[in-house]
């Protein structure tokens, strides 16, 4: 890409051709030992739920076409080890005790299983790729696990409208690869794309890396097929962009975390894949510089900016330590910003980027910058950002918080957490460091507190929570409101799950919680769906 002629200056935006073509994809960490020592204060099991027996397992097996769709330690059709990946969450923080895993192959099978569970007071945990970070997709006690992984076919794709209809268990990356072959793109992308499933993405209203450009799933998802808690199939699939005929029921299921039904298929509007993609990564001296670069990028790139991500040096050092970033910068900084553009004209996009770079180079905003030269380098630069969460998890025990904060003040939250943990004598001691990264363009901060060792500690958790929630969210308690300086959200995109369900009043007023409880009751009067989570 010779058209980016850079001045020979120590502050230069260099090509990224010295980067390795593609860094090896690191497997998901299998941290199974941590939680056993973690004193989680989760709801106790309600006696209203049936305890499953071998005779129940035999009955469930009759509801599915293939006997191997039911795996249980009760009748010896599975070992505890085989159920472990379904009982344990991605972080190794939440461990359920389920003895029955069902993997239905058709919507009808899902319907029959759920109907039977409802009639027999059996609690059900719907499970997608189990990549969530708030303990939402694993059982708390002995709930039946209903995995969508065998329900994963593409039902239809219309290249005129770009509408894809596919089943819940389809892996996000597979959906996107299929679309790429047709010249389209899935309007959601996230680090866990190789494992997460599109049904789970919709059930948790996942945000991720493309929200800045394509908006939230609430705009892209055109229709859903859902098995309701009584087993009825709600056919809300649709290829229409506009349909104002009643309440938009699908919106209730988007982000409902399996609490009022199981999403079995989705219709989603997929944009054309950009003909030209550029990725640049900058090192910067301060968060103030990140803000100014963000503002300049919006001005110069306009409609072609498709992502604006930020990570701090603490996160970057963790990535380097895990081997996820070779020598990238001549001058490293306290902060890093990744900018992606996607447009229909490579020439126009380059000109817009050059104009941005010229402005950045003539200012002291950036210390150094690299621009990807080909698709492999695009992947490499993205991977540095995408490896942040995983590298921090590998560096110790990571306490992860996903927060919505106005972008101007986003990094203040990280600094205040550091000061708080220092004051408590933890930072520099049991706590190694506090890192911040996230989707700056959306005001979405991922705050990671990384402690020594590999055991979650009640002391550290107690020092962080509810401090972090008090800091970020306005606390609605009975008649008073304790205003936060940020008026943010305690969960931007990860959801509530088991982790944040008890803290919902830091982001929702009493009236909201009352309405939510009544909605839950309306859809799931027996409370069998994903209990002990979300709305308590």
């Amino acid at each position: 890409m010779a058209r980016f002629s850079m001045p020979s200056s120590s502050t230069s935006i260099r090509t990224a051709r010295h980067l390795s073509p593609r860094l090896p994809t690191a497997p998901l960490p299998a941290i199974t030992s941590r939680l056993f020592q973690m004193p989680l204060s989760l709801s106790s099991r309600s006696p209203k739920y049936t305890t499953l027996t071998t005779s129940h397992v035999s009955h469930i097996r009759k509801l599915v076409s293939s006997p191997s769709s039911v795996l249980s330690t009760l009748d010896g059709s599975a070992t505890p080890d085989e159920l472990l990946p379904h009982n344990l969450d991605w972080m190794g923080k939440y461990l359920g005790q389920s003895q029955v895993l069902v993997k239905p192959k058709t919507v009808k099978e899902v319907s029959q299983i759920v109907k039977w569970c409802n009639e027999n007071d059996v609690a059900v945990v719907p499970q997608g790729g189990n990549t969530g970070l708030v303990g939402g997709s694993t059982p708390i006690h002995d709930e039946l696990i209903l995995s969508l992984s065998s329900l994963n076919s593409i039902r239809s794709f219309d290249p005129v409208s770009g509408v894809l209809t596919a089943e819940a268990g389809l892996i996000l990356e597979q959906a996107d690869s299929f679309l790429a072959s047709k010249g389209f793109v899935f309007p959601l992308d996230l680090g866990a794309k190789g494992s997460c499933q599109i049904g789970g993405n919709v059930a948790t209203n996942a945000g991720g890396l493309r929200l800045l450009r394509y908006g939230s799933l609430r705009g892209s998802v055109l229709g859903l097929e859902v098995v309701l808690p009584d087993g009825r199939i709600w056919d809300g699939l649709s290829g229409l962009r506009k349909n104002n005929t009643g309440y938009d029921l699908k919106q209730l299921f988007i982000g409902s975390e399996g609490s009022i039904g199981i999403i079995t298929a989705i219709s989603i509007l997929c944009p054309s894949r950009s003909l030209s993609t550029n990725v640049a990564l900058f090192s910067l001296p301060s968060y103030a510089a990140c803000l100014e670069v963000f503002s300049q990028a919006k001005q110069h790139l306009g409609e072609i900016m498709s992502a604006f991500e930020m990570f701090d040096n603490t996160a970057y050092e963790a990535v380097k330590k895990q081997g996820g970033a070779k020598k990238v910068f001549e001058k490293e900084g306290n902060f890093y910003c990744l900018i992606e553009t996607g447009g229909s004209s490579a020439e126009h996009d380059s000109e817009k980027l050059t104009s941005l770079f010229d402005t950045l180079l003539s200012s002291s905003l950036i210390l150094d910058g690299v621009l990807a030269q080909d698709n492999a380098q695009v992947q490499s630069l993205w991977q540095i950002r995408e490896l942040c969460p995983e590298s921090l998890s590998k560096a110790g025990t990571a306490y992860k918080y996903d927060l919505s904060v106005p972008v101007e003040k986003m990094y203040e939250v990280v600094e205040r957490m550091r000061a708080h943990l220092k004051e408590r004598g933890l930072l520099g001691g049991k706590v190694k460091y506090v890192a911040g990264f996230g989707h700056m363009g959306d005001g979405n901060l991922h705050l990671n507190v990384v402690a020594e060792g590999n055991v979650f500690s009640k002391e550290i958790q107690g020092a962080i929570e509810p401090f972090v929630y008090e800091l970020v969210g306005t606390h609605y308690c009975d008649t008073t409101e304790q205003k936060s300086d940020y008026n943010g959200s305690i969960s931007a995109e990860h959801g509530l799950g088991s982790m944040k369900a008890p803290f919902i009043s830091y982001s929702q007023a009493d009236t909201s919680i009352d309405l939510m409880r009544r909605l839950k009751k309306l859809f799931d009067p027996k409370g069998i769906m994903n209990p002990h989570k979300f709305i308590l």
Copy 2:
């Protein structure tokens, strides 16, 4: 704009400088005489609702700060003529009999009035700009009318995030003008912008002219303030792009047409105003040519295409007859397409447009084309499209249908309606013509059947309905489904109101309708909110 050098050919894209700078804005038609003779089969009044008396009016007056906020024919504070614009819908098709109009000035006043109505079984019709086309914002019988027009201030605007928080009664055009002065744009635009209110826009999930670019309100609206049917104020305002803490309650109110609460304020994400705007209008020989131009426009314009509108020659002739279009084309056609682009670089946008025009000129797809040279011409070209609905209304008695249909087959619906009315001996007789126009980019067709005279006729309506609904929507009736060739929606953006409420089963399955009825009951157990409409 000399850079668009056009070949001297009979097929040329000419500059639009011969257009008048801005066509006069026609006032909304005041067609008050029609409906009195229209035999509308609306629900009869339920005896459960209280009949208001002068003593009720005195009590309501105590709930508001200013006595002039209550206007009633019961106590002589208003004449029937003064209430007429609130009792009669925009088309002059639906006439209510309300004797009490309340215009609260604060959210607290709205809350107190609604609380009182709920306690006293008084039916309430929330009313915005009353520009709806399905009889959703006027009373059916003697419901109290609660107008939001005095609740219209801008509460805040954040130029960093682009988030506007404003009250429901703010006129859309005023909101957009305010934003324009800050370099931003309201992500919704529609013909009625000079009268409609942003609260009503959100309550009906209005679609309009910018949906292709900015998506639906479901993505743009970040938060709402709503007075619930029991009078409680639900504070769901938010400036956050991401907030996954429970069910997204605001989505239930978006498009709920006043059936479960009254929207009193909205927070909405407003994009930066495009630095460069271009509008071109083409005449084309066939709908097939429109489809091909749409496909070419998507390819050449990519991310800068902000609207793709279509109208047929019947609609265009009506606009010309009403004085809304001077001589625009050297060669007129059977169809017209309007393309708008909005981008951050005038030069790049022009190059993209030139590339599109070169392709179109070298094909036989278009007959003629004009390109606006300045903002006044942009307005003039837009106005031709925007005057379609009004001009057709003025040409006789217009029966209007708003349909979602896959774009490839969109115009088939117009042709089949013509054939159907011809077969019935109506087209060419009592029916003057059938016109089609709409938001082609969204698959949204506006079908207008224009009849002689100025009285709605049961015969003509009976010939159109339910034929048009059967044609477009799959009919879900009990155990069977009568599939439509289009699998469309009987209401793309206008909503259900009184007009389409009885036909909801042409677009929604039994399970959906059952869930909707239960939701209505949950929020509004006494059924005081906008009765006899939406979900029956």
